[in-house]
Symmetry: C2
Subunit: 417 residues, 2 copies
């Protein structure tokens, strides 16, 4: 819809990343420039903020703070995990959204998130179309998991991959420092897609990575894992570093972390949560081979470690937000911004395009099986070639007292909650 005049609403959804706020900065700074956009709102906790009429006037923020959003991890407006029911089943939420959009004359809507969030974005888009309410809606991709369909890669992945590869290089130097055997098991995020765990192979590219890398794309066998570790230990003076995805499953689809916990539970441990996968696999190696072990989980740090953000990722995330606003103001709607890799100049360049948003909803893009080599324990050079351009350059918040100066928003209430 061309030449729509009205307010714009932006929301953040799903798990935080190092660069989701860079996309927010791109949306806000571009939207504040657009003559047809009469007000720029940021929803508190995504779709929930819209339903609750709880959102902020982004025009009231200092431009310096909006710029600092580029280097500020997590979701500055607050995030949410909220799944909209199908409108055909229950249209309460949709009616409420339409009511709020009408009340504030919201004619531009940008939603930033992963698969589930694009499902939300798509449902709202389709409902408003069916209701005849004119509103240009563009999804802005985001997920450290890198599993969105239709885009070469996702904003957030490059920074998480850089964090993982850098940290693994440091852990490699640390774990191999004594002249005795030691096995380190490092657990990385990714329930279904192994992109994050695969990033460990970038450290291998620098000679300081993992000996074994296990992705959820390949069924995991505890017996094979134990044999793999033994083989590496025997060849390396008792030393081995293994990276595992939190989502590894056996051939029947059972999560390995649950299998290990269940084995312990038989001893009367009940339902209490045990240590994570890394600790349990490390314990198993220790019990079986008597070697010193360490279970290390990169936990939340891998998704919020903005001090190690990739400049490429930050810039692309910003441009994804900016592209969404420009496209909407050009009349586009019901789309998501996607990235296309352009190697025509001989070096990596990223092009921004649009794709129907329903294609991104609830899909999962996994690591190609042909990139997983060495009997399911390593990534090929093709993966390294794919991922290396995404982790280039440094880009972080300025220091104040030796610590990052993150954005500080005023969050002036604009909804009348």
């Amino acid at each position: 819809m061309k030449n729509l005049v009205g307010a714009c609403m932006f929301g953040q959804s799903g798990g935080p990343t190092s660069v989701i706020n860079a996309s927010a900065a791109g949306v806000f700074i571009e939207a504040l420039k657009q003559p047809n956009i009469t007000a720029v709102y940021g929803a508190a906790n995504g779709i929930k903020g819209i339903l609750d009429e709880n959102f902020y006037d982004m025009g009231a923020e200092d431009m310096k703070e909006l710029e600092l959003l580029k280097y500020t991890p997590s979701s500055a407006l607050g995030s949410v995990r909220y799944k909209l029911k199908d409108a055909s089943v229950d249209d309460t939420d949709y009616k409420r959204i339409l009511e709020v959009f009408k009340k504030y004359n919201i004619r531009y809507f940008f939603y930033n998130g992963g698969n589930d969030s694009m499902d939300t974005c798509n449902k709202i888009s389709k409902y408003l179309i069916s209701a005849g309410y004119e509103c240009n809606i563009i999804g802005v991709p985001k997920t450290i998991d890198n599993d969105l369909y239709g885009t070469d890669h996702c904003p957030g992945y490059g920074s998480a991959a850089k964090y993982i590869a850098t940290t693994l290089m440091e852990l490699n130097l640390d774990a191999k420092v004594y002249d005795k055997g030691q096995v380190a098991v490092v657990e990385l995020m990714g329930r279904h897609a192994g992109w994050l765990t695969a990033a460990a192979a970038l450290a291998n590219h620098k000679g300081l990575g993992a000996d074994l890398i296990y992705l959820p794309e390949i069924p995991f066998s505890i017996d094979k894992f134990m044999a793999d570790v033994k083989r590496v230990m025997d060849a390396n003076n008792g030393k081995c570093i293994a990276c595992v995805s939190e989502g590894i499953q056996d051939k029947d689809g059972n999560f390995i972390v649950e299998t290990l916990s269940a084995a312990k539970a038989k001893d009367g441990f009940g339902h209490t949560q045990l240590g994570g996968l890394a600790i349990q696999l490390a314990n198993l190696v220790n019990e079986t081979y008597g070697v010193k072990t360490r279970g290390v989980e990169l936990s939340l740090m891998q998704r919020c470690g903005a001090h190690l953000a990739s400049k490429t990722d930050v810039e692309e995330a910003y441009m994804a937000g900016q592209t969404a606003v420009k496209a909407a103001c050009d009349g586009e709607t019901d789309k998501m911004v996607v990235f296309e890799r352009d190697m025509s100049s001989g070096s990596y360049q990223c092009k921004f395009k649009l794709m129907p948003v329903e294609l991104a909803a609830n899909t999962e893009n996994k690591v190609p099986l042909e990139w997983i080599i060495d009997d399911g324990t390593m990534l090929s050079d093709e993966f390294v070639k794919y991922a290396l351009p995404l982790i280039q350059g440094d880009c972080k918040a300025p220091l104040e007292d030796g610590l990052p100066r993150f954005a500080q928003l005023k969050k002036v209430q604009a909804g009348r909650k």
Copy 2:
């Protein structure tokens, strides 16, 4: 002993840090300049490399790589945990060390480490004096634990503190992103001294720290912890971030992690190692209050995260090594380098001095009790004033392919093992 002419030996000992190699660079680069030093050796795995005649010719390394050591975490020569017996009980090792020192005409010995390593350094020094072998020996301090006696602070602490404070700021933004309650328990290193855990308070100084901080200096009560968490949750929309030192103990000196494990073991879990302290405390909060919890352990990353090294720390670590060599060449021996804080100019400056090495052996310098406030849950401004100068500035390895380019040593064998 002035004007000694001969080779120098350097060894690294104890747990790795982000800057122990910066001290190595200081020793090597300075020693290679000294006319009285005829060869510069680096011992593989500390004292063990001397006993095994396994050491490298540092003069054969490229200067560029020695400079890169400043930014390379962990112990580049390999480390060791090896406690020398008292010479009066068993002098086998000492005789062997004397034999090796004589064989290679080693007249300068520098040993880099914490309390235990200074014990080693002291014992060797005293033995060689009693044996009438002329060798100038200087200890170079190192420990992320910051618990060495006689020095204002220790090389390695500033970088670990900067890593902890920065990461905690990021975790704070991540953990508070949803509009639901969530309790995060973050476990930090430090068995006996709470300096590392206290560093969380630097993040508080920026408004993004922990609600509760528990050091091993104060007896820990699980009941009080649970009440503290409840109080913070009630005041903060169900949200709480608590930092705990791995070494927290109850009033009878029992480690809390063991108490919690023992409680579980009663259910038949046996002796298998459970998750760490953070996970167990998080589980307890989850079971008791039904709130979503996260146990996060900064694990090895806090000691090897050189990408977040403090420039102040790197420079001081380098100068500690350089000072040791200069002092030894000036005839000093049987000493350790210590840091003195000089605020006479109104801002922080570090002076390098010498102290008898036996004073540093096996001592522990803890966080002053008067700096621990709010009923044992927070650090005072005095702590922040103390620690803030130590985390200033950035200083890290140059990037190559978006990842750190760490030192790559040739390690030309100089011993005749």
